[in-house]
Amino acid sequence: MRKFKEFIIEKLILACGVASIFFVVLIFLFLVKEGLAVFRSVSFSHFMFGHKWYPISEPPHLGILPLILGSILVTIGAAVISVPIGVGCAVYIAEIAPLRVKEILKAGIELLAAIPSVVLGFVGMVTLVPLVKNIFHLPTGLTALSGSVMLAFMAMPTIVSIAEDALYSVPKNYKEGAFALGATHWQTIWRVMLPAASSGIVAAVMLGIGRVIGETMAVMMITGNAAILPKSILVPVRTLTATVAAEMGEAVVGSEHYFALFAIGIVLFVISFMINVTADLFLHRRP
């Protein structure tokens, strides 16, 4: 009887394990099947590097270059803002802050991670967007810059918590060794702690960026959604994710437009996958 119970439980757990992989594979296959269909009507290079995204004109123009550049621009902007602040915050929490401040800051960071992205988008829309508009005297504040700033807030919790972990796990000996040579606190941080934690910090940055690339709601609300080739960070852009979210409801099932949106899904999948693999490589590179 006990053996039988053991057998059942083992198989149940096995089923759970297999199920998760099974669903991932199903989703992936479906994505590929629907997405690749677009290349019956558009060539690969035309799809990836075409300048025009007019999916419902006749004939449709399905070039996603403006969308890719939109995503990249917003992401780079977000990284430029969130990486220095995030890593700085991690250093402060791990190395400098007194115990009580540390607790408060960590709780605050977790709270930041808990804000739903639609709320961030909404808050950005009524506060940040008019601010950007007034500062740069623009016709509209719905720009790539606004998106970058908001997304920086979303990337920050990931970057801070993983980078802080990495700093925390630097062997105590390294720090003592540096101090014993007469290093100041800052020299110890800059020349010993940060280099020793570098792989973890790079992973933190990659995962933060991964979060930004995949984010949809906030960017859709505040980047302006104009599918044009962006010439600066102060113009409206449209990201890959926002395109899929905005247009999927209207696309006729089986149309070229519909397939093109799935193909965008594949592109996003490949980008996220590469970022995660890079992060993973750095995380496990500990010598």
Partner: protein, 248 residues
């Protein structure tokens, strides 16, 4: 040459009393060995001398320490740690080349000129009796050296910033007998120019290299005398028991 004068030093970490009213003097150009079982406070004592205990959050101390003529806490702490170098129990090479490891502290204190860096690295490696073994491998990763070589590399790194005192915290605990002998050799030769304080778990090591030996037990200094006397006619029964290996 620098000396230490310690009066009624007590140290607490939280509720744990690590040192109780320890008073002793450290003379210039001697090797003072400190022996005692684990948790006897010997490492805490050593780390007082370069104020490394202060990294511990709940640390508290009482008593007075003088370095030369100055109060220990009146000296700028970075300058103090430059004057009072330390070699740790486990060799701790940084993930750089042999050269960069030795040049590390020197660069940190502001030396940039290639030529004088070269000179100081070579001098430090010679003093640590490592130069002959590594002079053709300066560009290699420090991790490629053997354990004993790594420990002497750490000694060289400490010497390169030109300290006056060197604290050794069980420097041979992870080394084989031959490497240990080489590190001990280096220590004996360094004595002429530096003051050395050696904490060791190895009683025989204290007998081999120490001019004077101090015995710590439970945070108290039990006995301090010339090494020869300590090992032939100790004044306290507990010292005798420990040296004979009856406990600890």
């Amino acid at each position: 040459m620098v000396t230490f004068d310690i009066k009624d030093l007590s140290v607490q970490f939280g509720h744990i009393r690590a040192l109780k009213k320890v008073s002793l003097a450290i003379h210039a150009n001697e090797i003072l060995s400190i022996i005692g079982p684990s948790n006897s406070g010997k490492t805490t004592f050593l780390r007082m001398l370069n104020r490394l205990n202060e990294l511990h959050v709940k640390y508290r101390m009482e008593g007075a320490i003088r370095i030369g003529e100055d109060g220990l806490f009146r000296v700028d702490v970075e300058l103090l740690r430059k004057r009072v170098g330390m070699v740790f129990a486990l060799p701790l090479p940084l993930p750089f080349s042999v050269f960069d490891n030795v040049a590390y502290g020197v660069r940190m204190h502001g030396e940039k000129k290639k030529k004088s860096l070269d000179e100081r690295v070579q001098k430090a490696l010679q003093e640590a009796y490592l130069w002959e073994e590594v002079k053709d491998r300066l560009g290699e990763s420090a991790f490629k050296l053997s354990g004993g070589q790594q420990q002497r590399l750490c000694i060289a790194r400490t010497l390169a910033v030109e300290p006056e005192v060197i604290l050794f915290d069980e420097p041979c605990s992870g080394l084989d007998p031959i490497s240990t002998a080489k590190v001990e050799d280096a220590m004996l030769k360094l004595k002429s120019r530096y003051t050395i304080v050696l904490v060791t778990n190895n009683v025989k090591q204290a007998a081999r290299v120490g001019d004077r030996t101090a015995f710590f037990l439970g945070g108290e200094l039990i006995e301090l005398d010339a090494t020869e006397k300590m090992f032939t006619a100790p004044g306290d029964q507990r010292t005798d028991d420990y040296i004979r290996g009856k406990f600890g």
